[in-house]
Amino acid sequence: MGILEVKNVGKRFGGLQALGDVNLSVKENTCHAIIGPNGAGKSTLLNCLIGKLIPDTGSVMFDGQSVLGRKPHEINQMGISRVFQTPEIFGDLSVFENVMIPCFAKRDGSFRMHAYESCDAETDIIAKAEAMLDEVNMLEKRNVVASSLSRGDKRRLEMAMCLSQKPKLLLLDEPTAGMARADTNNTIDLLKTIKAKGELTMCIIEHDMHVVFSLADRITVLAQGTPLVEDTPENIKGHPKVREAYLGEAEV
C-alpha cells in the first residue's frame, strides 16, 4: 500500500478524454516519476491530485484518506505540496515573506486570525524560514521583491516554499524546465539531498531524462491519458512501448 493510491481515475474535457483509466501507486519515501509525451495528461493528473480538478471517475487516496471533494488548501494541509510548471509565488511579497507564509500555514493551519501579533515576533517561523532560504542559497536575497527574481531563482523559491512545509508528498511539475544546465544540476542536488533524508515522497513530472534517471525510484509512462507501463528506471530505459510513445510524439 503506497502513500498515494490513484485508482481508475478518468477525466474528460468535452470530447477529449484527458485521462483514461489511471492507476498509480506511490510508495512512501520514494521518488516516482511520471513521464510521457506532451498532451499525455501528466499535468491533468497532477491537477487531480491537488484538487485543482476533480476527476470524473475513480479515486485518489492519500495516506489512507480520499482527497477527492476536498479543497486545495485541505489537500495541502493533508501533506501534499506542489511545485508548478511556471513558478507560482507571491510576486508582490519579499522572498522572505514568501517562505514565511508556508511556515505559517504549516504551524497555524488553513486559517488563523493572528491580526494583532507582529510578524517580527514570530521567532520560530523566522528561524525556520531563514534555515530554508539558507538551504536553497537564497538568504542574501531575502528582501528582494519576489517578482523581480530571475526565473531560476523563482523556481528555487517555490521549491523552498514547498519544502518549508515539510510535506509528506511533494509534487514537482517539470521543476527544471527552461533551466540552464548548472541550475538543473543544482536542483537535482537539492532534491537528492532532500530525498536522502528519507522524510519525503516525491512525484515528479519531467521531460529531462537526465533529471528523471538521477532521481526516480520508479517511473510511470503516460500516453494519451493512460499509463503504458510502470517500472524501475533501468527497465524503462529500453522498454519498447516507451520508445513507441516517444517516437509517436516525434512524428507529430
Partner: protein, 427 residues
Amino acid sequence: MTDQTTDTRMDATRPRASAAHKSSGLLGLTGKDLGLFIIVALLTILAPFILNPFPEGSALAQFNGGYPDLMQRFVIFGIFAIGFNILFGLTGYLSFGHAAFLGVGSYAAIWMMKLLTLNVIPAIIMSIVFAGIFALIVGYISLRRSGIYFSILTLAFAQMSYALAYSVLTPITGGETGLQLKATDTPLLSNLGPTEIGRANFFGVDMRASYEMAIGDWLFTFNAGYYIAAVFMLLSFYLAIRLFRSPFGMMLRAVKSNQQRMNYTGLNSRPYTLAAFVISGMYAGLAGGLMVAMDTQVGPERMFWTASGEVVLMTILGGAGTLIGPVLGAGMIKYMENIVSKINDGILHQWFAFMPDGIEDFLVFVIHPFIGKGWHLTLGLLFMLVVIFLPGGLVEGGQRIASVFRRKETKTSTVEKSAAEQQQHSE
C-alpha cells in the same frame, strides 16, 4: 481587480524582515512604524493649531480648516478610509459598497441614542456591531466572486440599502429627511426635560463643548467631540498598523498577490478575505457611529454609490496599500469639499482688492470657475493631476519630497531600496 504592479514599493507594505531580530519597541511597534504613529498622533492632537495657520479676519483665514466640524470629518473619514484600505489595499478586493456599512452604523447609533442612552459609547459599539453583522452577510455572499464581479455585487447590495432606506424603510430610517434627535425622544437612561432635545455626550461631556484659545490674532478651538473622535482614529490607526505588520496582514497581501498559490499552500483564502471584509466593514461602522456621535443626524444619501465611490477615491488618491495614504486622501477630499466650496466671488474680490480694478476683475474671472460651485471641477482636476504625476498617490508625493532630502544626506542604498526603485522603473 488586483493590481499587479503597485504597492510593493510602498514603505507600508515593505517586507521588513530585516527588523526581525530587533526587540519589539514601544506599543509593539518598531522603527518607522513607531515614528509614523507618533507623527500622526502629534498631528492629530495639534490639529487645531495646524489647521488654523492664518489669523482670524485675515484674507487667508478662508483656508483655515481648524473648526470642529471639519476636524471631526477629517478623522472620521480617515477611519473610514483606513478600514477600506485594509480590504482594498491589502487584499486587492475593491468593494464598491462600503458606504452601506457606514450608513448601517449610523442608523444603529442614532437608534441607540433615541432609545437607550445619549452617551456616545454604547451607540458607537452598536454601530460597529451592526455594521460588522451586515458586512458579514454581504461579504459572505459577495466574496464568492472576485474581481469586478465582486465589486458589482457589493455595489448592488449598497444601492439596494440606499434605495430601500430612502423609500420603503422610511419608518425605520426616516427616509429622505433622515433621523435626528427630537424632543419626543426619551432615551431609557436619561432624564431629559419634557421639551428638551437630547445631546450626544461622553459621560456628561457634551460633544459640542469647545475650549477656545486666542493667541494674538489667532483663535484655536479645542472641541471635545473632535478629541473623542481623534482617540478612536488613533486607536483605529494603531490597530491597522498592527494588522499590517501581523501574519494576518501578510496573508491578506498574499491573497492579493497570488490567491492560487495561497490555496495550494494550505491556506484558505476565503476566511481571510471575509475577515478583512468584516473588519473593514466594522471600521466603516465605527466611522458611521462617530458621525452620529458628533452630529446627531443620519440621512440615506450616506449610503449612495457616490459615497462608496468617495472612499475608493480617498484611498487611491492617498495611496492604496499604504498606512497613512488613505487618511491623507480623506483629508484632501473633505478639505476641498468644505473649504473650496465656500469661497465665493465676494471673497475673491476681497483677496485681490489691492490690485488695479482691471486685473482684479480678470483674476476673479479666471479663478471663478474653480471655486464655490465649481469646487467639483477643482477636485476632478486634482484627481487627474495626482494620478498622472504621482502614481502612488499623495504618499508618493511625500516620499519624493523626502527622497530629495535623503539624497542630499547619503547616497547609499540598501538592497531593499534598489529593489523598490527597480519596481518603480518597471512601470
